[in-house]
Each structure stands twice: as structure tokens, then as C-alpha cells.
Symmetry: C2
Subunit: 257 residues, 2 copies
């Protein structure tokens, strides 16, 4: 796999290798300092930031295109990644990639090139462990950085809408799937988990209720060791038990967790 | 709007009007005789039945393509329709529309025509009032009929998978959105509603619990009249209050209904 897309060949003969009219956009979320953060790119010559995205190869699923893009931007493999919505407004990409932008990186783009046509985009969200990500811009962008989801400002095209829809979807999912653990280190305290839920759901939760609900879910495994390096009482550490969760899914998991 | 697709022009010059590589498939569900039923087409020259589907026009969203298809197959407008997943296996359409099928309806299809290429499909589900539907086959199919979801047998391509995924999605949605009312007549009894929920969720529900939950949801409006023509005690009729539900959504609906 090429580590970096070669835009010249993408523009000039990319539609041999990629499907026209279909792209992906990734909402990559991490959790740090009790903030939910989203990974954004700063395209060259543009004021606004953008979600990392890409095209779909002719022999790829949209999820495979998502994993490939995620690897290129973060260095991560085997992350939690799921599609949540397909955005198909016919005018959503009207002001997308322009000839001027490509001129700037030395590519003389023919008029009505396939990359300037209408694109539907499949939105995928990835939940990643913040500390493991090494953000990396692509050839068309200057920076790749984490932003607090509350401070992203105006993004390019319909990317604010895509981000909002991803957050809505995650909030609903969190009610019946323990997806949050993907955002935490392998071992975490119940208090870490509660802060994460509070941040995603954007509201305070009752501690006793939360702990009871989580512990009764049976998907948390108690770890022998306690958290070290903290003052006062050392809290217990837990990890998420994928095997027990998958078993419960096979047995017909019902209700909220 | 044309009432019936003209397949000859679709095949020969359809890619001027439709996007290549992108289709939609509709899981149209109705509720009748305490069965959840799905609307299927029987393609000419094929053993297996198929979900109604179609292409996406160059100036259409996938949802608009869905409403158009739904209208052509059912005669219904303004139905509940929502996308639930995009299916993108590169080999999913390998055995799709063949030259023989088109030959059969008098169309001589050029080799490697756009309709025989790879298609991603956006799955949409529609919940409709059974009695209002007038099923109508298209030019490539002999029949358009309702099937009990438990008896559909082997469908073409990945349509069984698409149907399963739609049902999974509806079961989850039912927990937090009162989508079920779309499947009932405007006025219904709590017992009708319970049977519907039991059918979709494929399990028995406790009557007292169910009634309490539904009535406390505040989205049901009590109707003065009672159901007539039934023996014994006449049960009360309710209708779904869209306005109250929309208000609750604006106020930040939380938790299960």
C-alpha cells in the first residue's frame, strides 16, 4: 500500500482505479483532557478545515476505504470504524476541489475532471485511543490536528453536518452498545468511563446509577491492580471484555446497557 | 414524472440521467394479520424474488430516489422512509442484470453497459399502511407482492442480507423512536400497537408494562370514540401525535420510549 496518495495520478487517471461519484469522510474521535476531539485537516489555500476523507477503490468496500484513510492519517490499524450515514445532496460538492488548488501543487487538471464532479459521501466514524494517534496531513493539506468538537468552527462543504450526524449517531449507539471503551486506554477506572459518557452525552450522570449499570452489564472485567500515582484512595481498574460482549450478542443482547 | 421506467432508454443512455455505480434498494414493510410483510418483485426469467430498487438521478438525493421508487411500486407518497446502511461489497452485483434479461424485453444491450457494472446500494426502509398499497411490478418483473418476512426464501444478490439489516435497524430504532405508528391505521388500540411491537421485536411483551410505557410517552392521543364492531368491551382508540413528538425532539428527547 502506498503511504501517501499520489494526487497527480489520482487526478489524471484515478477513475481507472477509483469509483467516480463516491467518496468517504471519516469522523475520527478521540478523548483527551475530558474533551471529545475530532481529527481535522487544514487544506492548502483554504480558510476552513476538513474531515479526512478519500475515494473508494474499484475493488474496495467503503469500510476498507475508511480503514485505509484512517491508517494514512493516524498510523492506526484495527480501529473501531462504522458507517453511519450516506450524504447525497446533489450540490454538496459544488465547491469542492478546484483547478486552482491542484495548480498550486503543480497539477494541471483537465476541465470537468472526475474529481470535480458530484460526489456522494459515506460518513464513517472511528473511535480511537487518543495517545496512540500520530496525525499526518496529506499532499493537499498543511496540517492534521485534533480539535475539541465544540470549537471546530466552519468546516468545508457539509462537513459540519457530517460531524453533527456522527455525534447524534454515537449518542444513540452508546445507549445499547458499549462503544465508548474504544476511546479509553485498555485499563480504566469507572470514573474515567463516567467522564467519557458525560462528555459524549453532554450531561451529568448520577455516579451510583452509572456504576450499577456498568457493573451489571457484565462486559467489564475487574483488574487485580489498582490505579497508581493518584492521591488518596486508589480506584479499581477495569477493562472491557470483548469475548463476553460478543457472547451476549450471540445470545441475543436486549435492552440498554 | 414518468410512471414507469423506460428500460430501453435507461440501458442505452441512462448514464446521462443517472449516476453510475450507485443504486438504492427499498425494504418496504407493512403489517397485516399480525404479520410483518415485505414487498417483493419477481424478476422475469429469474427464480428468486427481489427488493424493489432503482438508480439515482443526477439531480436527486438517495432519499428522493427512494420516494420515487416507492411511489412507482406502491402508489404511495409521503411515507416514512429512511436510509439504514450502504452495501458496498465489490462483488455484490456480479450476477445482476444480464444481457439475456434485456434481450427478453427486446433490448439489445451493448457489452459492459453501465447497468452491468459494479453498484453500491443504499438500503432504505419504508414503513407503510398495508391497506393503502397497490403493488405494481415494473417492466423487468412479472409480479409485485407482499411476503411474510419469515417466508421470503432466497432473494437475488445480497437482498436477504439487506432485509436482515433493515429489520435489525428497525428493532433498534423502535426502542427510542415511535416509528411503529407508520405501520398502523391512523386510529388504533393499545392492543394493536402491542401486537405490532411484538411482531417486529419477535417476542411477547408484558401488557401492563407496555401500556404504561406507551401512555407515559405522551405521543399517543386519546380518541373520543371506541372501536366498533368488536364483541365484549370496546377498547379505546388512540392516534399518534406527530406535533407532540416533534416538540419533544426539539426539547431534547432522551431515553427510551
Amino acid at each position: 500500500m502506498k503511504k501517501q496518495e499520489d494526487w497527480k495520478s489520482i487526478v489524471l487517471e484515478g477513475d481507472k482505479h477509483y469509483l467516480p461519484h463516491i467518496s468517504i469522510d471519516c469522523v475520527v474521535l478521540g478523548f483527551h483532557d475530558n474533551q471529545l476531539r475530532v481529527l481535522l485537516l487544514k487544506p492548502k489555500q483554504k480558510e476552513e478545515w476538513a474531515l479526512p476523507g478519500g475515494f473508494v477503490k474499484r475493488e474496495e468496500t467503503v469500510e476498507e476505504a475508511g480503514y485505509r484513510t484512517l491508517f494514512e492519517r493516524t498510523g492506526l490499524k484495527d480501529t473501531f470504524l462504522e458507517q453511519f450515514h450516506t450524504f447525497s445532496d446533489p450540490y454538496r460538492t459544488r465547491h469542492n476541489l478546484t483547478r486552482a488548488e491542484f495548480k498550486n501543487i503543480g497539477i494541471d487538471m483537465p476541465e470537468d475532471n472526475w474529481v470535480t464532479q458530484r460526489f456522494l459521501t459515506v460518513g464513517l466514524y472511528a473511535l480511537v485511543e487518543f495517545s496512540k494517534v500520530v496525525p499526518k496531513p496529506n499532499q493537499l493539506s498543511d496540517y492534521c490536528e485534533w480539535w475539541d468538537i465544540h470549537n471546530v468552527g466552519k468546516l468545508i462543504l457539509d462537513h459540519n453536518h457530517i460531524l453533527d450526524k456522527a455525534l447524534q449517531s454515537i449518542r444513540l449507539q452508546l445507549k445499547y452498545k458499549p462503544i465508548g471503551y474504544n476511546l479509553l486506554p485498555q485499563k480504566f477506572t469507572l470514573s474515567d468511563l463516567q467522564k467519557l459518557y458525560e462528555t459524549i452525552l453532554d450531561k451529568k450522570l448520577d455516579r451510583a446509577n452509572f456504576n450499577r449499570k456498568m457493573l451489571s452489564s457484565k462486559f467489564l472485567t475487574y483488574q487485580e491492580e489498582k490505579k497508581t500515582g493518584v492521591p488518596h484512595k486508589a480506584p479499581f481498574l477495569y477493562s472491557f471484555d470483548v469475548e463476553k460482549y460478543n457472547q451476549a450478542l450471540r445470545d441475543g443482547l436486549s435492552g440498554e446497557i
